[in-house]
Symmetry: C2
Subunit: 639 residues, 2 copies
């Protein structure tokens, strides 16, 4: 790896979004989603599944107070992944073991939002939550409500299943974001105290464990970058390096050397530096791979970077849905084997596509190759956006590529495939993850190093780079044109990504093309205009994906389209797309010539050529599906 070419995505205040497509969405997140989630975390949304998140912190605060006062504190069992009303004492911890993380992600989103839009009410709400959170922190820095409430003696005894280090990771990310926005260091101090405890607890000659659900690793790198404290980086590195060594720590912890679990689910089957394939729980995976890229970059670690590259290739070329979804199987919310990408059984968790964007961002910082931002773009405009309803008040956790409501209702194999977005989830990782991603979307636009400003995502707005202030007028999704008005401070190269979906483009400057970016010399104030040919097009999936053979999908720019029953009638599988479909693009929808196969009534009969009648198909953007109630949906169509 070439350490000198590393770039860095700029801080959040170096870019502002002003974009006809994105501004309404970021505004929706700011004015609706974050506010909605504020209520959800406190269980104030009627008809939504309960969160218990803030309730647990309040309970933990009382425990902390009682401990301080030397009072006796009860214990409750720690023996489940989810503590429901039904199975738990009312004074004990409630919800999933990782419930704390939801408020941390929300605070992270609030921090980003405040940077873009100061808002004293929102800031006060977050500070109230921070007080509640900090009241629960134990004297030694420990902060996880499950253990504080239920049993202090069991802390760090089940890293595999429980999520103390995961919650720490989100705490640190939330704390940094809020500190950057407000200069209020209360939560950051709390995070550092917990980080110090973790550094004191884990390492060589200490507990040689590592997180069951990764994220602490990348959070420790962030905390290192923020504070300069080398122990944080070293502990992150320790976690990565120790993972997967034999005998497995998870076996030692369970006091059971066993051949019945090889920890693929946790990506702990072998050391990360030897991993070549994306396996196991998809969100865990991409959080780990992101951290591996972070450490590779920080330590200029070629071995780790090579592993990242192999894993990336495996995802991009063999385990990625056209929508940027990852995780083909509900069992373990996991990656399946190569080319196993079923449409109807897909998992494609919203969080996993967000995590894939994290991984892509880090890989593009190490090497500016357009593959990374291409995949991030694919995820962003499709699976990430589909995670949220038009009105920001309901969410998808699972993002399938084909839905037959009857199957979701009657076939237990598809019970995970919801047909409409849900108000909230007991396991609510996705909605606040979406909020923090969208609220920080401006940081995904560009990265920079000494010589170059790399434009990764074409979102209109203004950038303050070291070399220039750049105003971007983007009609990217409309006619494919993006204009850069540059006030130059130092000579540099403007590197513009050529999206993988684009075969033809025009740029008003001389350029050199390298690894999917056009490099344009900028030496004074200037105006760069690039225009990508953006037309509806038919995309095929490799025929190694068994489900999609003989089928195709329709895309326009980065946006994947789908068919809904509302527009095309029942039995979407009976439809066919013509090879020359006479595409028409109107109001964001695509119309195309198609055929509808005549229904066979007889279950089995002698073969005869099927009969078709012509029809005009209507495709809508995939991310907009299920905004009109329950109905059939399909991304792929026979051709």
């Amino acid at each position: 790896m070439d350490c000198k070419s590393f770039s860095q995505h700029a801080d959040i205040n170096c870019s502002k979004i002003n974009d006809s497509f994105w501004s309404p969405i970021t505004e929706l997140v700011r004015t609706q989603v974050i506010r909605y989630q504020y209520l959800a975390l406190q269980d104030k949304i009627e008809g939504a599944e309960k969160s218990y998140c803030i309730e647990n912190f309040i309970k933990a605060g009382k425990v902390k107070k009682a401990l301080d006062e030397g009072k006796e504190v009860p214990t409750y069992p720690i023996d489940k992944w989810c503590y429901n009303d039904e199975n738990t004492d009312e004074n004990a911890f409630h919800g999933w073991v990782f419930q704390d993380s939801d408020v941390y992600k929300w605070i992270e989103a609030v921090g980003y939002s405040l940077r873009n839009h100061p808002d004293s009410v929102l800031e006060k709400q977050a500070m109230d939550f921070i007080d509640i959170i900090c009241d629960a922190q134990l004297e030694n820095g420990y902060l996880d409500t499950l253990y504080i409430i239920n049993d202090r003696d069991k802390i760090f005894t089940n890293l595999k299943d429980n999520h103390e280090l995961y919650c720490f990771g989100h705490l640190a990310e939330g704390a940094i974001s809020f500190y950057d926005a407000t200069n209020d260091g209360k939560l950051l101090n709390a995070a550092c105290k917990f980080a110090d405890l973790i550094c004191d607890t884990f390492g060589e000659n200490k507990i040689k464990g590592y997180p069951g659900h990764e994220i602490a690793e990348l959070a420790l790198v962030k905390l290192y970058r923020k504070t300069g404290k080398k122990e944080y980086l070293d502990t992150a590195d320790f976690f990565i390096n120790e993972r997967g060594k034999k005998p497995y720590y998870f076996d030692i912890e369970r006091n059971k050397i066993t051949a019945d679990d090889n920890y693929h689910y946790n990506q702990a089957h072998i050391q990360p530096k030897y991993q070549t394939e994306a396996v196991g729980h998809a969100v865990r995976g991409v959080y780990l791979y992101s951290a591996m890229a972070d450490i590779a970059k920080e330590n200029c670690d070629d071995e780790l970077y090579t592993a990242c590259g192999k894993i990336w290739d495996n995802i991009e070329n063999k385990k990625l849905y056209i929508t940027g979804g990852i995780g083909a199987t509900v069992d373990g919310e996991a990656f399946s084997f190569d080319y196993d990408l079923p449409n109807d059984l897909a998992y494609c968790e919203t969080c996993a596509s967000i995590g894939l964007m994290f991984f892509a961002r880090r890989m593009s910082e190490i090497k500016p190759d357009s593959h990374y931002a291409d995949v991030a773009e694919r995820a962003l405009y499709n699976t990430v956006l589909s995670g949220m309803a038009d009105n920001g008040k309901s969410f998808f956790y699972v993002n399938p590529l084909e839905v037959l409501p009857t199957a979701s209702h009657l076939d237990s194999r598809k019970r995970h495939v919801k047909t409409v977005r849900q108000k909230w989830f007991s396991c609510a990782c996705c909605p606040p993850n979406l909020a923090r991603l969208i609220s920080s979307l401006n940081t995904y636009i560009f990265s920079e190093n000494e010589e170059n400003v790399f434009i990764h995502q074409y979102i209109g707005g203004s950038l303050n780079t070291k070399c220039a202030d750049i105003n971007i007028s983007s009609d990217y999704l409309n006619d494919g044109s993006v204009d850069f008005n540059i006030e130059c401070k130092l000579p540099f190269k403007l590197a513009l990504r050529i999206p993988e979906w684009c075969d033809n483009f025009d740029v008003n400057k001389n350029y050199a093309l390298k690894d999917g970016y056009v490099y344009i010399d900028i030496s004074g104030n200037d105006n760069v205009e690039i225009k990508f040919e953006i037309l509806p097009r038919i995309v095929k999936c490799s025929n190694k994906v068994r489900e999609n053979i003989g089928k195709a999908a329709v895309m326009r720019g980065p946006i994947v389209y789908c068919l809904e029953e509302w527009d095309n009638g029942k039995n979407l599988h009976m439809l066919k797309l013509c090879e020359n479909p006479n595409f028409e693009y109107l109001n964001g929808c695509i119309y195309a010539d198609g055929l509808r196969e005549k229904e066979d009534d007889k279950l089995y009969s002698t073969y005869s050529k099927p009969e078709f009648s012509p029809c005009r198909l209507k495709f809508i953007p995939y991310y907009k599906w299920a905004n009109r109630g329950e109905n059939e949906m399909s991304v792929y169509i026979r051709i």
Copy 2:
């Protein structure tokens, strides 16, 4: 229903098989399968999963002896469906709760086999088992080793989950078969004693329960027909009529009125007479429907018969695989919703297709309509036969229509889909079920009433009907010709089924066609020759079955063909069948013109017409798949 037209399948000694296709298979079952299973039931097959069946009877016999002697007998918990070595005291019951039934099915098979081929060694083996079984029977007639060994006080307290009445059903069927073969009434007496206890226990003003797994109903009808004892028929009728009434007996039994289970799994959601759709556990289903048809016939019950007809139509037209498999989902080994017939996730338990043959047989006795024997034939030549290896020493429980070994190994959603036949199963319902079906196959050839002899299955051999002795020379599977040499005793009509797969046939007599049978007047010794046009043909599945749209299967006569990797290379899904495939039939295989699609290396790319190269496809009979080791298999191919 027209009670006067009812026919009856003749007793086993009224027909002998002498058929180039079937004789080797029935001989294999007689000389290999039954002997193999004799060892398996005693856990004497190396490398096979343990049965515990005979071991449990021996243990139960010791308990019975101790009880007789007034000794104290320990109790063990009854709290599982399967009692493994790992989780059970070594003196307690082992295996599945229905383990007793395996030896009963084996004895039933032995009885049929002895009728066709007297064999003193085999008879002695069965009698030894019968002694062991009868030694375990309690004084009051109760006979189920799980309860006898583990806890006598809990008898008949969990009809929903445990299988006492199921085991009784198989006991009765086995006992009748063995009595008919040997005139030895020891087991039949035991069955009647247990039946008497059941009749005393269940009914109006008694326990108003019914079996969780049906079969006792049809066994009681058999026992009634054998003994003439009306109580047996009445108790069967009670079980059928009581089933599904509200409040649910299964709720009462569990002392829990609940909305969380509506007992579709057990077909106990509504009374059988109101049922219109095949739902729940497929084997349970077809055993119930068979009993409903039995009762409808015995009592000339129109309401029950109408329900049978609706359920039959639902199976035949919406829930039947081309292979005669039923049960599309592993969850509950159950029927899925209409037209949900996935190829790769299929369950298609061997037992379920056998049970479907039972249902078909009974329906055709009530009304001679060729649909019934057509479906029985479809099941017999495909899913039933595929349940057993060429050498009779390994078995399939699940019979998928498409197998990718990688998926079975790596995708937990397909863990139930085995890629090779197994030596035995801990849950070994299928192998002995196969043995009893094949051993009694001669009874499926014809049924008769006052005026007609109905030929349902074209299997060569000799029949002794009331009106004539008939010698059948069958080249049915070879050139489609079947000759009937008739020695007439009384004038009658010979009714020959025209298989649904046959469009053209020749018969050397005048005939009238009705409900799929040609009726030929026979008034003296005669020779009837019929010849069905039997050619390889392409069959399509209704396009309402989403998985099969754009695909087709190849059949010849009743036999479904499939592609195997050994013959056609990897990635069977890349193959296409030409519409005019230039079929060649050679040594039981079918060769056809096809195309192989060129592999795409890129996961996503702009659509271009796929490239194909011509190839010659080789199809083998579906029932012969996986006899050459693990490999890809597919019934359907794109066309």
